[in-house]
Symmetry: C5
Subunit: 86 residues, 5 copies
């Protein structure tokens, strides 16, 4: 799983119905920004655990949910390494 920092919610009005009404968050993975489905209810600046691969689908609620990156946990305490974002 990846250790990412939550940046902000993402708004996408025109999206496939399969996403339902789940919240999408922009997260920082190292230096690249990605989009993750929020399964725990996190807020900007939280350090979170993101699961990818096929596990992201079940983590988002069902085997047919179209996610490849899902936030599955908020890390209690995290110290980013100096000069790094993870």
């Amino acid at each position: 799983m990846l250790i990412c920092k939550v940046l902000k919610p993402l708004v996408s009005t025109n999206r496939i119905p399969g996403f339902e009404h789940k919240h999408l968050q922009v997260v920082l993975d190292g230096t690249s920004r990605k989009v993750a489905v929020d399964a725990v209810g996190c807020k900007p600046d939280d350090w979170v655990i993101c699961v990818g691969s096929s596990a992201a689908r079940e983590a988002a609620g069902s085997k047919s949910y179209p996610s490849d990156l899902t936030i599955v946990g908020i890390i209690d305490h995290w110290e980013p390494t100096a000069g790094s974002t993870s």
Copy 2:
């Protein structure tokens, strides 16, 4: 999911029948160009959400569709970071 910029449609006359007639788009992921199946109807210069992994198949319409990157949403507002394409 990846945040990509749509560049242009891709034409591939000689392709496997499994792709059916869905539109393919060339998208920019950071600095590398990739091909994604268009499930929302986007146009060049749109910033879009692309899902990969096995989730790309169901997002493209069915569990047996041979996609590993599917455009699943158009982002309402996106500001690329300076000197970056995502």
Copy 3:
């Protein structure tokens, strides 16, 4: 999907039976060489679309085919960016 350039066929006499007699091609993905199963019948110097992830299996013919990269289409016209191979 990746945009790759076909380099040459690959010969592997000692391989698992699951590969059957399908052709393998060495392709160039950016600057790294990979092996892809040829599902369309391509030739050296063709620019092709390669699908990865679990979709590569069905694209190669069946859900149990052991491929993680399958050539699924030949691109009609492709202009590589200057100084790049994709």
Copy 4:
């Protein structure tokens, strides 16, 4: 599979129920830190084998377990290459 070094356990109180009570470990993959589910019982400084992709789920105990990186073995003897972490 990846060759990683175990750094320390990770505590995430607010996480999805699907993770159950399995231990999570922060591991070092080259120079980047990731989170892996511990299926063997390892301790900091162990060199371990981590499996990713969909295989991480069954390796963690069941096909529906939401892991994309699972520690599946402890390496008996490992010599990291000079100037590298793997």
Copy 5:
């Protein structure tokens, strides 16, 4: 599929039962060392084809085998590019 060079067998006494008694090999993918399940019977210095993703499981013998990288063929002749390991 990746083109890798076999370095040496890997010994991991404490590993999950799911690995059974199959041989593990340390392989070189470009400049990074990885672990692959050997499905063909290779030896150090062989150039091999490694399959990843979910296809690695069936290539290793069954859909539930916990591999994400399996050696599926030995390349008859391979010339690494100058200054590169693949």
